[in-house]
Amino acid sequence: MPRTTASAQAAKPPVSGPAPDTGGRRLPRTLHPVAWWIWALALATAVSRTNNPLLLFLVLAVLGYVITMRRTEAPWARGFKYYLYLALTVVTIRVTFRAVFATGITPRDHFLFSLPHIPTPDWYAGIQLGGPVSLEALLSAATDGLRLACMLCCIGAANTLANPKRALRVLPGALYELGVAVTVSLSVAPQLVQSVQRVHRAKRLRAGRSKGLRALRGIIVPVLEDALERSLRLAAAMDSRGYGRAGTATRRSRRLTGALMLLGMCGLCAGAYGLLDATAPKLLGLPAMGAGAVLCFAGLRLGGRRITRTSYRPDPWRFAEWAVAGCGVLSAVLLFANVGFNAAELNPSIYPLSWPTLPLVPAAAILLAGTAGFLAPPPAAPTRAALPPQRTEEPK
């Protein structure tokens, strides 16, 4: 015991006592995950407003800047490049479809190339395959795709910047079980992959068939049995560690919670129907939606009250959180306000074909969102020295 403390202290200064984030906002700490989500969703909302490729590229640049400044070394924080690949795929698919399912060409369009026309049967008459493709069609498809891609990247940025497991902890108490289910499945997935690899490797030892249904069975059965046994042991472990301890809920309050939630859901459904269907009576729209939301909220609060649980090192909500969430929301508000710029500049026309202009106020609004890159406190530096020598992976 004395040996271990001595080595621990030698490795790095003791960090016991208050959390390292009390001194000021520049001390390294992780930002509240909800702040990142508000920021990213607000930016996505702002993006939905514009079609201007210059603004969209500016958004991508801002996302890139903030992520490089404020991401951690955790596994989930290395995923942004996959969102970029996904974005690229979205744009490509969009453009390809537009070219293949051609919509024809008008005399005003610039002819680009022509694909062989494939005649479609009569009953399929609405859709045309192949034919001439214009520059305008491709450009509008590309900017549309780019907008969607930008929104995807905003979500990706939120996932990269905020620890998904910590974000789940923000869920109201009544939804705690849902959060645990997600957390557990997140940690079981890699084990399942490992299990598949192990069994696959072991199959060769028996020289069983390596193709076909029987071979699949040879992998699936051991893996599933393994997973099932593992989850039973996990359930037992969680039970012995106090998961699901009943609080002070009475039968009456449990019933009340159930009734409130059910009514609230009904209200939400009716409200959504009323809002979406123009022929529905006006009364069904917003009021039903509002009532449903209130009932659901009350149900969640009541349900949350019976759960007695505390949270270890909860994320604080301080100035930095206000600042980051605020700058995101402000940029969305600016883009929707239509003040100081011509709304047409947000969605430049491709007729006549011209280079889009960069409207000043929207550009400034998007740059404002980029200030999150230095408004947020720096993330805690990974303690490289404490990292172990890499374990060699042995086949297991």
Binding site: M1, R3, T4, T5, S7, A8, A11, A19, K165, V180, T183, V184, L186, S187, P190, R198, V199, R201, A202, K203, R204, L205, R206, A207, R217, G218, I219, V221, P222, E225, R230, R233, L234, A236, A237, M238, D239, S240, R241, G242, Y243, G244, R245, T308, R309, T310, S311, Y312, R313, P314, A386, L387, P388, Q390, R391, T392, E393, E394, P395, K396
Partner: protein, 551 residues
């Protein structure tokens, strides 16, 4: 602290109750060792302490279990979480979160401990178990011993009065096991925690126990001091067997006590030559497998570095070394199914004058040269009954009607396994025998076993020794990777020790094992400098000399 009052546990699918009329009291601050063969109800007894039996497992519990004054009939496991902490065999199975610190806090969050107290307790527990420099690390990248310490810490933060540990070291190498057991004894001595511990490898823990609960089978339970119980119990560590053979009273339980008691015995044995543990090697054992310069790397990290190894027919080789020292990688590379970056393997076959490399053959061909039983033998089992598995093995190996069928092999290895049993319902030892039979159907002359002793009790280990003895007698070369030094002392002709991918020692068992203070079996430690390795040797010498051991 814990009281069992006329407890009987009956599961629906068995005719006989697992536990029958158990009366048991465990006092506060005791380290209580639960011993018994596999399947006699150790886990049931431990599970009953925090109510997992019968609340979680099903079955019926008659009688009364009182834990710190609470009846488990009225309190499900979650309501007992603040009194009883449970740690299982494989720590990874019980982890809910993904970093050390959050895992330590999890139980407290469930118990609604105030955040300030939580913070303090996490820091204390980190220090208590020596985990402070691992606090932010992900759980899956820790070593086995560290993971098990985190698992213990994660239940300790709830400040339980009782700690239940079900074979906490069976998945660990000796160093990691020492690490965990040291932590446990510290908890008993410094904090007065009551510990209930089940363990197969008694030699590791017997000296720490205050009380032993022995389950002889038949559902009864005998409890008493270690010296009382081990005088007659059917399972005992080598130190106790030696004590019984030499007639020592009271029975010594630690190496130190035994060495002091053994002084007269050592004088008496001084001029004797111990009988060999295994028949002396006949000269001219054929070289069956020759490996040169085997190198295995994973993502550029070398796991095995230029290892040369020659295996002879009729020889049993034990492969030892820490977890992660490259044992498994070497075995897989020798078999040809695992990766091999460089080097060559040549296996001599009776049909072919030229030695063959299993890597260059098909899976079926490689299997006829070298058989490998992996660490998790159940990975190879996927059918519904033992018979289906065996028939499948016959087809896969192309056994003709007049050849030796897998059923015959299995009956020789482990007689009496019914055809209709589901492979998952077999005991660990039987599963091992089944997979071994499947691999032997292809009649390989070289057989590699990757950690077969994991989870086996003393009886199953003796069975395994008999099996590998027979295989060697048939002229096969057998390699067993294991951490179990007592097993090696009884079973192996030759020991190869690996560290960081290199072979650091290779020689006859007597020389390699006795030379190392860590690796030496208990008998060797007690009788050093005499070259005795096993209790059987000492006992045989004593009878040969006709001296009354008790005198």
């Amino acid at each position: 602290m814990i009281t069992f009052d006329q407890v009987t546990v009956q599961y629906e699918d068995t005719a006989e109750p697992v536990l029958r009329d158990v009366d048991l009291t465990v006092e506060e601050g005791e380290l209580c060792l639960v011993v018994g063969h596999t399947g006699v109800g150790k886990s049931t007894l431990l599970g009953a302490v925090n109510g997992l039996v019968p609340h979680f497992t099903g079955g019926t519990l008659y009688g009364r279990v009182l834990v710190d004054g609470r009846n488990t009939a009225e309190h499900p496991p979650r309501e007992l979480a603040d009194v009883v902490g449970v740690v299982g065999q494989d720590p990874l199975d019980g982890f809910v979160t993904d970093t050390v610190e959050e895992e330590l806090a999890y139980a407290m969050e469930q118990l609604a401990v105030p955040p300030a107290t939580m913070r303090k307790r996490v820091e204390e527990t980190l220090d208590l178990l020596g985990l402070a420099d691992l606090r932010h690390r992900a759980l899956h990248e820790l070593s086995g011993g560290q993971q098990q310490r985190v698992a213990i810490g994660s239940v300790l933060t709830a400040h339980p009065r009782i700690l239940v540990l079900d074979e906490p070291t069976s998945a660990l190498d000796p160093t990691a096991a020492e690490e965990v057991l040291a932590a446990v004894t510290r908890l008993v001595h410094d904090l007065g925690v009551t510990v209930l511990l089940a363990e197969h490898r008694l030699e590791r823990v017997v000296q720490y126990a205050d009380r032993v609960i022995h389950l002889p089978g038949s559902g009864r339970v005998v409890s008493g001091t270690p010296a009382e119980i081990f005088r007659t119990s059917s399972i005992a560590p080598p130190i106790v067997e030696l004590g019984r053979a030499a007639g020592w009273t009271p029975l010594p339980l630690s190496i130190r006590d035994a060495r002091r008691a053994a002084a007269p015995l050592r004088t008496r044995l001084a001029d004797t030559v111990p009988p060999p543990v295994r028949p002396a090697p006949t000269s001219g054992r054929p070289e069956l497998l020759t490996a040169r310069g085997i190198t295995v790397t994973y993502h550029g990290v070398p796991a095995v570095r230029e290892v040369d190894l020659t295996l002879h027919g009729g020889e049993i080789t034990a492969l030892m070394g820490r977890n992660g020292s490259g044992k498994s990688s070497l075995l897989w590379a020798l078999q040809g199914s695992g990766p091999r970056k460089a080097g060559s393997v040549a296996v001599v076959t009776p049909d072919d004058p030229k030695p063959l490399d299993p890597r260059k053959l098909s899976a079926a061909g490689a299997r006829r040269l070298v058989g490998l039983v992996p660490q998790t033998p159940t990975d190879l089992l996927y059918l519904e009954s033992v018979k289906q598995e065996l028939d499948q093995a016959d087809t896969e190996s192309g056994v003709t009607a007049d050849g030796i069928r897998s059923r015959t092999i299995l009956d020789r290895l482990a007689p009496g396994i019914p055809d209709s049993t589901h492979p998952r319902d077999l005991s660990e030892g039987q599963k091992l025998a089944l997979v071994l039979a499947i691999q032997l159907t292809a009649a390989p002359r070289v057989l590699l076993l990757d950690e077969p002793t994991r989870g086996l009790d003393y009886r199953a280990k003796s069975e395994l020794i008999r099996i590998v003895d027979d295989l060697a007698a048939e002229g096969r070369a057998v390699v067993i990777s294991t951490h179990d030094v007592e097993f090696v002392a009884r079973a192996a002709d030759r020991v190869v020790v690996m560290a960081e991918g290199d072979v650091v020692a290779d020689g006859p068992t007597t020389e390699v094992i006795v030379a190392s203070p860590v690796f030496a079996p208990q008998t060797a430690k007690i009788l050093a400098p005499l070259p005795y390795l096993t209790v059987a040797q000492a006992a045989a010498t004593l009878t040969d000399h006709g001296t009354d051991p008790a005198s």
